[in-house]
Subunit: 663 residues, 2 copies
Amino acid sequence: MITREQHDRMANAIRFLSMDAVEKANSGHPGLPMGAADIATVLFSKFLSFDPKAPHWADRDRFVLSAGHGSMLLYSLLYLTGYEDMTIDEIKNFRQLGAKTAGHPEWGHATGIETTTGPLGQGIANAVGMAMAERILNARFGDDLVNHYTYVLAGDGCLMEGISQEAITLAGHLRLNKLIVIWDDNNISIDGAISLTDSTDQRARFAASGWNTLSVDGHDPEAIATAIQTAKKSSRPTLIAAKTTIGFGAPTRAGSNKAHGSPLGAEEIAGARAQLNWEYAPFEIPSDILDAWRSIGARGAEKRAAWEDRFAAADAEIRAEFERRMRGDLPEGFDAAIEAYKQQLSADKPKVATRKSSEMALEVINGIVPDTIGGSADLTGSNNTKTSQTGPIKAGDFNGRYVYWGIREHGMAAAMNGMALHGGVIPYGGTFLTFSDYARPAMRLASLMGIRSIFVMTHDSIGLGEDGPTHQPVEHVAVLRAIPNHIVLRPADAVEAVEAWQVALKSTRTPSTLALTRQNLPTLRTEHTAENLTARGAYELAGAEGEAKATIFASGSEVEIALAAKVELDKRGIPARVVSVPSFELFFEQDEAYRSATIGNAPIKIAVEAGIRLGWDAIIGSDGLFVGMSGFGASAPIDALYKHFGITAEAVVDAVEGRLNKV
Amino acid sequence: MITREQHDRMANAIRFLSMDAVEKANSGHPGLPMGAADIATVLFSKFLSFDPKAPHWADRDRFVLSAGHGSMLLYSLLYLTGYEDMTIDEIKNFRQLGAKTAGHPEWGHATGIETTTGPLGQGIANAVGMAMAERILNARFGDDLVNHYTYVLAGDGCLMEGISQEAITLAGHLRLNKLIVIWDDNNISIDGAISLTDSTDQRARFAASGWNTLSVDGHDPEAIATAIQTAKKSSRPTLIAAKTTIGFGAPTRAGSNKAHGSPLGAEEIAGARAQLNWEYAPFEIPSDILDAWRSIGARGAEKRAAWEDRFAAADAEIRAEFERRMRGDLPEGFDAAIEAYKQQLSADKPKVATRKSSEMALEVINGIVPDTIGGSADLTGSNNTKTSQTGPIKAGDFNGRYVYWGIREHGMAAAMNGMALHGGVIPYGGTFLTFSDYARPAMRLASLMGIRSIFVMTHDSIGLGEDGPTHQPVEHVAVLRAIPNHIVLRPADAVEAVEAWQVALKSTRTPSTLALTRQNLPTLRTEHTAENLTARGAYELAGAEGEAKATIFASGSEVEIALAAKVELDKRGIPARVVSVPSFELFFEQDEAYRSATIGNAPIKIAVEAGIRLGWDAIIGSDGLFVGMSGFGASAPIDALYKHFGITAEAVVDAVEGRLNKV
């Protein structure tokens, strides 16, 4: 039993670690940790199920600090509860190069950080994905193994971002009752009082999407505890609006935007020490308080031990399967099944769109890999993301494997990240490639974190046709390639499509985007190879007869055009070779010898892609030729568009001949 | 007075034009036009104030088809009401190359299209900006000249997108009572019934943000008229939830997602003709119905004539100013003021961050150009977007010139587009460059439309420092440069900053993004030039002494580094020149002679930019050297970061010497 005095001192430990760390770094956000310290103390001391000695325990509750700028709140909690990698030196090193205590919480830097937050609204959407993953795994493994809560601390910024609406409407629709969002309702954003920018009744807004909502004084520990208890019993996700004072304890800055994002200064901190009766030096936590915090951490060990007992009592096969899934390994037999399927494709030579090839590959994959959870942002029939194995996930029934995400591209991508972070499931989700723009902030975070979210982006060029330039990605392949640690795969046929899926599924530390066509393409890889050539990023698909005068590089739907151009060039006595380039990132990871052999020495290098040139110079050189787009597309049938924009075999031939005549 | 029978026939004219055009194109979306035909007929016949003979009349009501896939609804209305450029041949040419009737409505293709829609949620957010512009101009020019409504037809897709939440919370907060959103509440999205993906009570949701809300049978013309009448009198923005049947009139597909996005087929259309008693051939509109529609268009002329009379009665100076603003011209004396200010800067040589230089430039600009409306997505003090002239815009008081956009980057960008489309104002708005990702779909549409939205993106590199990799743009400058028709300006000092603003303001058909530093930079342009050198995109800032062995290209904060490297190289007997590259797009627009002279013949070309290499090959060649980033940033103080990532003058010198030794 924690007395009120103890509670206050425990919360003040968070406040002073935060104030002092920000002061020492001369940079950071003291306001939120000070304001939300009471909430966090109640949540961690009375509710959160976690074990600092086993931070990866699968059935722990998840805590997401959606308001990531308040990172010192989380770091303080990790230190106080006894996470071994969060030392006091790390706290002192806040925001310094190489510290685990980055400006915003970075997943992978320290254990106990469940996701990278900072870009507002992402955390709450990640949490929706985590809560979905929990229910999905619960449906498979039962209450004994999977039965935990997902808690979010969100600020006004998170709730003002559009992505939060996508997240909460989805959570309400799916009745994710084990998701509890505590809103740090401090009435302040960077520009000033919230009344400057917003008049939304947040409780009414959440209620409109089927949430249970509560209000509470965020500095009253008993009231907070009662609210969380109530929330845990709800049949709906719960919003707890916790009224707080930003920078609580700061004598002149509390309650104002001056407490938000900069060090308080020595004088203000001294005033806070006096006001909160905190007589300790910076970074010094009195032993009774540290003990109180550490005992919470220790208490979590009991819960975990009980879980370990239940786990040990489970069937060996179930245990092995659970562990495999939580490790993120693919099931045995995966590679063999892909290989067999590739063999079949090279024999069958289907002429289908790569979105269809992707569906065919998924039909095989989803049969072998029970971890995959598919979905689409309301384009199921267009993205071809649903297979025979993937029944719908619904409120009250999480046995399915398919999420009808609705028109929520951003929320989908961020929730997929949450699913991947939770573990035990492999999320893939689709939309049109042009709408990757809507999902981009979450896609970038997948790359920054290095997690296996797989984005299925169809209708990947002007080949989309009549829907016109708003729906035609022109720069999108290039700008996705620009995100560090992001594999963009643009397969040319059914074989490359399944190889792309194999790459994506095996890249456990890198998200992938598959760029897929609307239009049909022939099978080009008619000779079976055991090796996954797509994993090379680029490879010679057709060699030259004699010494090559030109190498034609192409990706996706334009590889067919490249091959047609080669035939014509050969006819005209200009030996040409064709290199298929399904992935820049994978190609640039190959060794120098492979790269230069693949690029080759032909005097003319030409690339064909129904997108902008950007990025191709790294392969064809800045003097290389390019057949593609240089501006927005247009609304017309596909054939008219390829002709209009001059992305044809004839254009390739003309460009090569033009250059030859010039040389 | 329109009888019910007349109404039905007028609405059916829309339905059949839409069905028949989609059928002929063998592509398109018949469902919405058929479902919303009654709403549109009531709105256009009884309420919308417009004149097809003067489609650009400044005080017309704006109609935004946010659900842009229903483009045939709009095209039908434009044809029926008599817009001269919307001929029956254009309708027949729906979705064909070069037609004004693109798959989705494209602003600039035909008059009467108020904005480009298709990417869901954009239209409703554009409309918020239009309604703001209306109030802002009303505050300046009074009811006689500016007093109109903004109507939106939105579907479930628009309301599910997160951007809609940003838009409606802002509209509610600003009490934009002349904004009326009609929700085509047809219960259907592409994947099926809305119940598959969402359970939101939309009226409650809008009410939570201060909207007036109404429900109505969307096929009952009288009820629709009453609702719009009520909405017009509200002191709040209004949502009218209009219950409709998608594909109304289609015998088997009505009410199902099968009516949404593909041709109905001959049989279904024949069935619809029978069911709706429409005995006319495809594209044939009986003369009584065409007359009825055309008389609506003619009635608008009266309203406009009355406005013209009021306008003629206004003071000559006011008339001239109103016309100047609606034309989008800058006031006389603008260039001279910029020139004088540049002169002063070259003399004063301030050492300030370019975000501060931008503020200083804006202080001059906002003093001369009353059209500018500033703002920031809750980063006013960081983006430096507010000047002494720009008081806040508030509910009930639109005399101000500054929008506290709140944490709504996407909504801000889309509403800025709406303001630019409305005309009479020039919107600029800020956030951190890394969060351009959140605003990207709207920024792309600004480019596609070719409108003057100006995005002020500060904290443009790892120079941001401690906030870490989530907040550090690494790929963002490159990926904004990738958007066609988008000017990205990354000024190196206070002179380039004001030149950048001059370019942005004078580029009436292209949006601009200014990428600005957090950190201080010295004035490099210490010699005044009358010419706007930034408008050249790139120019020699420092020549070599003797024949240059190296040219160092740099943008923004790295130009200082380039100059320091040149000094050191010169010392070591390696003559180097420095080219400042504030804008790729502007540079590539220069003539060949200027470009090659600027790039020069130095054997070594090296670029320095605190971002990824992508795009630079077009200037330095694929064998050029690059000093910059190749992955995500880190959390640390700025100096530590530049050193850690090797973006220093020493690194430039080393790279040049390394290459020289190799040659």
